[in-house]
Amino acid sequence: MIYLWLKALHVAAVLCWTGGLLAAAMAIAARPATPEAIAPGHRAAIGVISRWDRRVTSPAMLVVWGAGLALAMQGQWFGSLWLTLKLGIVLALSALHGVLSGLLRRAASSQSSEVPSWLRHAPLPIVGGVTAIAVLVVVKPF
């Protein structure tokens, strides 16, 4: 019974986390290349997404990790290849979230438009990572 509740909590947190992560990635990708080109609307959107990141997306990531590790222990999944691969992808997405979160803070507090070029493509690996995780968890091919 507790396993199902943990699973529900984990899935809910994953939805909140990946939604917030995509919003952060899109906001950073849409950051104009020059400070003069930054419209007031974009600045306001960055402020809102940065606050959302602090209050919802980052706590959701902590719940994803906590509930996910508890599920893996309860279900005795540690040692399965699919879980090892999934953990690697989640670690990479978490690191990407850390970078995006820091950049959002900087963008919200300054006029700097400096965004590493590779981050302009960040939404793509997020979608790819989440898709790979869904396949690994549902199909458990390994």
Binding site: L69, H97, L100
Partner: protein, 110 residues
């Protein structure tokens, strides 16, 4: 120029970073100085089975917050190196907490 709200947020971020730095350092000491000797000298393997994951989570949280802090900018290469190395060395987290406290004091001074 930082607005008062941004300064408050920056200070809160440094405060959180100091707290996780102290937690990471304390759990590393408990693991190395208490749990590991208990396992090898008293045969209590449960000590490392409990402290290992606790320190692991504290370490991951510290690394994640460090990535966020560094990505926000304003840190020199030597400061970043010190903050990274401190996570791997016993007592290093306490030194990092001092570095963060100094930064906090500088930022709090108008």
């Amino acid at each position: 120029m930082m607005s008062p709200e941004q300064r408050t947020e920056e200070l809160a971020q440094l405060q959180r970073m100091r707290a996780i730095s102290l937690i990471e350092a304390s759990t590393l000491l408990l693991l190395v100085l208490v749990a590991v000797p208990l396992k090898h000298l008293a045969g209590l393997a449960i000590a490392t089975r409990i402290m290992g994951p606790i320190h692991g989570l504290a370490f991951l949280t510290y690394v994640w917050m460090l990535i966020q802090l560094v990505s926000a900018g304003g840190w020199s290469r030597s400061e970043i190196t010190r903050l990274v190395l401190g996570a791997f060395v016993p007592f290093g987290g306490f030194v990092n907490a001092q570095v963060l406290a100094r930064r906090q004091a500088r930022l709090a001074t108008p």
